[in-house]
């Protein structure tokens, strides 16, 4: 310390109020600039809320802070000293811990052990008794009664969350990151959690709190930062923030970029869904789709939108309610059945679920309807296959030197087009698009949007699931809003605007219902 220069001292003094200071962090994944020049400073004894839409860069920032990702640029200061966080273990040594929405527990280990597994300096012998006692004490301070001797496997998500929190507490962290910790907790559980967060704050822990629940942010946060599209938009004390201003910051991109699609004429009723449900996932979903109509599904991640798509496509069949297609009642139990009924589902996860990346573009495009490409001997007519692929390559402007190229070598946008080609090739009457523009560049995005318009004009019914609110608003004829497995509302084109939809998605029925900070 005595070797530091005057300049450094001054910097250190300025930063000393901050436990963790991230400066000008940038991170790029392929075509996506996940974080661009982002700065964030966390003060001891402060709850700092981080808001932003899906894809705003919150998760990436968290991963940088916990050593999972290394930033391309920028520096991280811990109590004024620059540090590198090379691994999760290093983050832990620096006193930085994170609680994720999906808890990272060891299902075969019991609760007490899960809480203490990170304590690598706990000696050679497992002090079961001490561990159990300590775990019970921590959980009791959380107001949670849990058999700490039971394995984590059987725990509900809320219980797992409590274990994660206990784990962080047991580590005596300086910085605690909570990534949507309340997403799966009931109101009662949330109240307990907040009592605890306040305790931690009182002990001088810096807390980064990420949540989509606006009312929670105003209950607990001291400072609010908003990210949008990988950029830092604003950081303000909570008293200067209103829900309206925060949401405006979150969604406030230039709407001019996305023109409203001219609606196509609607034909007869294609799909009619009544009280559709899948046990424990979603329930009470009722809507219909006409030919030429685009029905947007808005809501936050985990609201159950994708699950409805999966139910309609027979991957995870519905357990209740009815599905009528062209006025006859159907049960859909497998993707093949769905395909036979003219339904196509373009998955949100093109790398894991959508494409076979090492295989060629043409092979991917023909996969669902391979039987169309067989000759009498049952062999694939590659010429015909390639011809189809070429057709789509032209129609969707897939930029590739050859349709024989492995799909994995394409950029995200072109992969998305391949996936779209694949399902258009099944000649669907109802097309379910799940996050069709996630992670692709602006140009490709516009092309996909144009394609959606064309398809609707051709008389295809489209369900558009997207977390990109402006996209949903621009493309949809009607917007269905989901929240926590329940259908909140269906807005007509005229009544749907970003605020209305966002408020519905966050569980607020009327706009001005939220007042400033509570409690």
């Amino acid at each position: 310390m005595n070797r530091t220069t005057g300049h450094q001292k001054a910097v250190a003094a300025a930063d000393s109020a901050y436990v963790l200071n991230l400066r000008n962090i940038a991170k790029r994944f392929g075509a996506t600039q996940a974080l661009e020049d982002v700065s964030l400073a966390l003060r001891a004894g402060e709850v700092h809320a981080l808001l932003g839409e899906n894809g705003a860069g919150k998760s990436t920032l968290i991963k940088v802070m916990t050593g999972v990702h290394q930033p391309d640029r920028g520096e991280i200061l811990l109590a004024g000293e620059p540090i590198a966080i090379g691994s999760a273990a290093e983050a832990q040594r620096h006193g930085i811990a994170a609680i994720y929405q999906e808890p990272l527990l060891f299902p075969d280990l019991n609760v007490a052990e899960n809480i203490f597994i990170c304590h690598q300096n706990r000696g050679a012998i497992t002090d079961w008794r001490g561990m159990v006692r300590e775990a019970e004490r921590i959980l009791a301070s959380l107001g949670v009664s849990l058999d700490v001797r039971s394995p984590a496997r059987g725990l509900t998500l809320a219980a797992q969350q409590s274990v994660e929190i206990a784990k962080a507490i047991s580590l005596n962290v300086r910085v605690l990151i909570m990534d949507e910790p309340t997403a799966s907790l009931s109101a009662h559980e949330v109240a307990n959690l907040f009592r605890l967060v306040r305790d931690l704050r009182a002990k001088g822990v810096a807390i980064l709190f990420v949540s989509h629940r606006m009312e929670e942010v105003f209950q607990i946060a001291d400072t609010v930062t908003v990210f949008r599209d990988g950029r830092h938009i604003s950081t303000r004390p909570v008293r200067e923030v209103t829900p309206q201003s925060a949401i405006a910051d979150m969604v406030g991109r230039e709407m001019g970029l996305l023109e409203r699609r001219t609606p196509a004429p609607h034909g007869e009723k294609l799909l009619s869904v009544q009280n559709l449900a899948r046990a424990g996932v979603f329930e009470g979903v009722t809507f219909d789709v006409r030919r030429g109509e685009v029905l947007g599904f808005a809501g936050l991640i985990g609201a159950g939108r994708t699950d409805i798509g999966l139910a309609l496509f027979g991957i995870e069949p519905a357990t209740g309610g009815s599905i009528r297609l062209s006025d006859s009642e159907r049960t859909i139990r497998s993707p093949r059945q769905a395909m036979a009924l003219g339904i196509a589902y373009v998955s949100e996860d093109r790398r894991q679920l959508g494409l076979s990346l090492p295989m060629s573009i043409s092979a991917n495009i023909t996969l669902p309807v391979l039987s169309r490409y067989l000759n009498r001997l049952g062999l694939i007519r590659t010429g015909q296959e390639r011809a189809t692929a070429e057709q789509f390559r032209k129609r969707l402007a897939i930029r590739t030197p050859s349709v024989d190229l492995a799909a994995g070598k394409l950029s995200g946008g072109n992969q998305q087009k391949v996936m779209l080609s694949k399902w258009l090739n099944t000649h669907p009457t109802l097309l379910i698009l799940d996050e069709p523009t996630r992670g692709i560049d602006v140009g490709a995005k516009a092309e996909v949007h144009a394609m959606i318009g064309e398809l609707a004009a051709e008389g295809i019914g489209i369900i558009l699931i997207s977390s990109d609110l402006p996209e949903v608003l621009a493309m949809s004829d009607r917007v269905l809003v989901m929240r926590e497995g329940r259908q909140m509302a269906i807005f007509d084109r005229a009544e749907a605007d970003s605020e209305t939809v966002m408020f519905a998605a966050m569980g607020q029925t009327t706009q001005p219902a939220i007042t400033g900070a509570a409690a």
Binding site: P107, E113, T126, G143, L146, D147, G154, E189, A191
Partner: protein, 344 residues
């Protein structure tokens, strides 16, 4: 039911039912075979179970970390031969030294597997299929396909199988069986009460999480293979003592019996759950079947078919029944209960 769920885990139910199955098997064979309930039957089963158990303990550690070690038979064969020829050449070698040589040689062979799996990132099934062949080949080349004969061994090794550790009534507990039980107890305690032992479970239970929270995942996998090798080495020594005559073919095929014991004993093939004690129960189940079927006139040939079925049932019951049990347990009593009412 509530009491049951509070005090017993589904995994323990599985072990208990295996124990029950062993009792049923013993009663069944007892009704078919005259003079089954004798100390001789006990010794017979105990002697054959002892070697498998020791190797199965090591295999359990490996399987817990989501790997498999198919080279244990070759390692046991190599160490049996090497320790045997050392003991034959130097009769004055103290017993402990011979045992240590066997264990050390096994540990080295296990360490080679471990390095290739943990740092070479070669799937364990490939590494150990390869070393299964390589170690055996080395043994045959090194030995020139000669035999270690009973006669050339010092008397203490030859007499070891007869050495009785303790006599309870009619039952002689032989030293080798006692050794196997001691190993099981040691490792059961080690995997239950040592932090390094618990890491095997953590690693296999959720490798991503283990990596994320900074557990030394590679070192854990490596030490599992190291210990599996060392215990196979010890088993090699026991093999030497039991059979005396060690050809280059010694302990060939041991890996199948051991994997079978581990799987039947309820160690999940995908890692993370199962106990050393369960693996011993698996070995006892298999040993009981094997030794008892020997005594039924025709049925000796049914042994493998029954063993295959047993493995399949064990895996299927893990996948289907155990999951149901766990769900049942989770549904009723282990839910999160908040105590806000009780709080002031």
């Amino acid at each position: 039911m509530r009491w049951l769920q509070r005090n017993i885990r589904p995994e323990q139910i599985r072990e208990l039912s295996l124990l029950l199955l062993i009792v049923v098997a013993v009663l069944f064979f007892g009704s078919l075979i005259d003079g089954y309930y004798t100390s001789r039957t006990f010794n017979r089963i105990a002697a054959s179970v002892a070697i498998i158990t020791v190797v199965a303990v090591g295999q359990t550690l490996v399987v817990l970390t989501r790997s498999i070690d198919l080279s244990v038979g070759s390692i046991a064969g190599c160490t049996a031969y090497f320790a045997g020829s050392m003991a034959a050449a130097h009769h004055d070698l103290p017993p402990l030294a011979v045992v240590l040589i066997a264990v050390a040689l096994g540990a080295v062979m296990g360490a080679i597997n471990g390095v290739l799996v943990a740092w070479g990132r070669v799937p364990s099934i490939i590494v150990t299929l390869g070393s299964l062949a390589i170690y055996r080949g080395i043994l045959i080349d090194y030995s020139g396909a000669k035999t270690v004969t009973t006669d050339s061994l010092p008397a203490w090794i030859v007499d070891l199988p007869r050495l009785t550790f303790v006599t309870i009534g009619n039952l002689d507990i032989r030293a080798m069986f006692a050794l196997a039980v001691a190993i099981v107890v040691l490792f059961q305690i080690g995997t239950s009460f040592l932090n390094v032992g618990r890491q095997f479970y953590a690693m296999g239970s959720n490798p991503d999480a283990a990596h994320l929270i900074g557990l030394p995942t590679r070192r854990i996998v490596f030490s599992a293979f190291l210990l599996s090798g060392a215990l196979s080495g010890l088993a090699g020594f026991m093999f030497l003592a039991r059979f005396g005559n060690i050809t280059v073919e010694a302990a060939r095929g041991l890996e199948l019996q051991v994997v079978a014991a581990v799987v039947v004993g309820g160690v999940n093939i995908f890692g993370g759950s199962g106990t050393v004690f369960g693996a011993m129960l698996g070995a006892i189940m298999i040993g009981t079947l094997e030794q008892s079927l020997f005594r039924l006139q025709i049925s000796e040939f049914w042994r493998d078919a029954i063993l295959g079925l047993l493995i399949l049932l064990a895996v299927a019951s893990d996948a289907v029944i155990l999951d149901r049990l766990r769900a049942l347990w989770a549904r009723t009593d282990l839910k999160l209960v908040t105590r806000a009412e009780a709080e002031p």
